[in-house]
């Protein structure tokens, strides 16, 4: 099975974010970058598919040189090789999707996996956009995946329950927590990953469809009213919720 996992580099969740001097992007100084956490579920699922069906797992990333360090984690988990499409531009989601699709057309994978969203811009649009560009079926936010020959059965969370979706290969899947437990690479795996190939290609970014015109920090809430855990405190909370917030 020819499996491609599309990965991205994101700031660590706990990193403090500062707005850069252009007022539109973050200042990367001092920001710790990691492999997008949802992509680890996608890599793990790709590895499981390879274990069950044979074949190879290729990581595909659109990004700059510094993404290599994070791609190495996926290689250490067990992916066979990686392709980095070099793009220094601060493109939009469509620009990344279109560059991924260009490479995927050539690779012709049976299965394309994504994390459900990257934790920087949280768009959740990469999987469906690539599927549309390649005219493939997509199943998003998958928590359970079964493949039998070329038939796929996947479970996904929806409001108020779960949906079971069927499709056939080739197909695009976006991985949600619950799909699997990503493995931790051991030291020998990390050493081995250093010699695995990361092929670099030049990217061609299309013009921006969506542009960030300003990035703000959200307004800090004024300090809330703090009460104590006595019967009086609880009564006062209920009064505030009724009379001030008017929510009950």
């Amino acid at each position: 099975m020819n499996i491609v996992v599309c990965v991205s580099q994101t700031p660590d969740t706990t990193t403090k974010i500062q707005v850069g001097s252009d007022g539109k992007h973050i200042d990367p100084t001092g920001v710790k970058f990691i492999l997008n956490p949802y992509d680890e579920f996608a890599v793990e699922e790709g590895l499981k598919l390879r274990e069950a069906n044979g074949g190879a797992v290729t990581l595909l990333c659109v990004g700059n040189d510094s993404a290599k360090e994070n791609i190495r984690l996926g290689l250490a988990m067990g992916a066979d090789k990686a392709i980095l499409v070099k793009d220094e531009a601060k493109g939009d989601s469509f620009s990344v999707a279109s560059q991924l699709a260009d490479v995927l057309k050539e690779l012709g994978p049976d299965m394309i996996l994504f994390g459900r969203q990257s934790i920087d811009y949280d768009s959740a649009q990469m999987g469906p956009t690539v599927a549309e560009l390649l005219d493939l079926p997509v199943i998003t936010f998958v928590t359970n995946l079964q493949i039998d020959g070329t038939s796929i059965k996947a479970e996904r969370d929806i409001e108020g329950g779960k949906e079971v979706v069927v499709a056939s290969l080739p197909c695009v899947i976006t991985a949600q927590k619950g799909l699997n437990e990503p493995r931790y690479p051991k030291l020998p795996d990390i050493m081995k990953a250093k010699s695995k190939p990361i092929e670099e290609r030049a990217g061609t970014a299309p013009s921006l469809r969506v542009e960030t015109v300003a990035l703000h920090k959200p307004e800090q809430k004024g300090s809330g009213k703090v009460l104590d855990g006595t019967p009086e405190g609880v009564k006062e909370l209920v009064r505030l919720l009724r009379e001030e917030a008017k929510v009950i």
Partner: protein, 324 residues
């Protein structure tokens, strides 16, 4: 500006997100000038059209096909894009719901339109219309502009509160035939497992969540009782989901669900950045925690510094009494 709002239907009924999409579309129409039409896609959905009149939308387009008894992202995207093109829509509004997240990128790509996903605010008007969306786990708010002539937005559930129009509209519904082929139905929902008797954090107005401070799954009845008194959904922090106390479907936060209810009650949740990412957009936040320095108090409108084991039973009683 011609605006097309997608009215999400499931199991023969319009979802709350459908009315929110109408509300957001009307907001743009009133600031920019223009008209709002709605599109409903499914099998036997014509009878649902009348419900949109109360939300001020008279022009309702239905696309019906027996193969759409259950959702299919490919076919639904084809239908919405076809209607948007035929109607010359400048802006398509979709909910950022489970189905909408699937649908909006496909519709945008078909229309060669830019997409602003997970939008929580719409500023400016006309050519200067800007969409506000949380980024970096809610630590930033980005204002984005869509450069393409056609635009698609998906709006975060529960933010554009569904509001009926001052003057209800008389609905005139029309059916549009979309030329589907079997190849359009390639990701078919074969089963929907509905969680019965439980509200879902993803579309609930009030959420009561519990964290590790509850000390064990057996104590979650305190959270469930308060949730029942408030007619709320039960949520959970990552720590208690990872510990197996609660199902993942209840998890609020970065690896769980992002929620924006009217009221969010965090019980014995310290407020790690990953949790705040999923709930800091709530309109009112109540925090109950023993530790007065817990980060959750930093985002709370109202806080009680106290022991959940004492506070929750009292609070449940007081709420019940207040509601009677």
């Amino acid at each position: 500006m011609k605006i097309l709002a997608y009215a999400e239907a499931r199991d023969g009924a319009l979802k709350k997100s459908a009315f929110e999409a109408m509300t957001a579309a009307r907001q743009v129409a009133s600031s920019t000038g223009g008209t709002v039409a709605a599109v409903i896609v499914g099998a036997n959905v014509a009878s649902l059209a009348d419900q949109l009149g109360a939300y001020g939308v008279s022009d309702v387009i239905t696309v019906e096909d027996n193969r759409l008894t259950e959702y299919d992202s490919g076919a639904t995207a084809k239908a919405v894009a076809a209607v948007a093109s035929a109607e010359g829509a400048d802006l398509v509004v979709v909910s950022h719901s489970a189905h909408g997240k699937d649908l909006a990128p496909r519709v945008a790509t078909k229309l060669e339109a830019g997409l602003a996903p997970d939008v929580v605010g719409i500023d400016g008007s006309g050519d200067d219309i800007r969409f506000v969306r949380p980024v970096f786990a809610g630590k930033g708010l980005a204002e984005v502009k869509i450069n393409t002539p056609k635009k698609v937005v998906s709006i975060r559930p529960n933010v554009f509160t569904a509001t009926t129009a001052d003057a209800p509209a008389t609905v005139s519904a029309r059916n549009v035939v979309v030329d589907f082929s079997d190849a359009d139905f390639r990701s078919k929902v074969v089963e929907t497992k509905v969680t019965t008797g439980k509200k879902d954090v993803a579309d609930s107005d009030i959420i009561v969540s519990g964290g590790r401070g509850l000390k064990g799954p057996e104590n979650f009845n305190l959270v469930e009782d308060l949730a029942a008194a408030l007619d709320a959904a039960v949520g959970a922090s990552r720590a208690v989901v990872d510990a197996g106390w609660r199902p993942h479907s209840e998890q609020v936060g970065q690896t769980g669900k992002t929620v924006s209810p009217t009221l969010y009650v965090a019980c014995a949740i310290s407020g790690a950045v990953q949790h705040l990412a999923g709930m800091s957009g709530s309109k009112y936040i109540v925090a109950i925690n023993k530790d007065k320095d817990a980060p959750i108090f930093g985002v709370a409108d109202y806080g009680i510094v106290g022991d959940v084991f004492e506070v929750l039973p009292m609070l449940t009683q007081e709420i019940k009494a207040a509601k009677n």
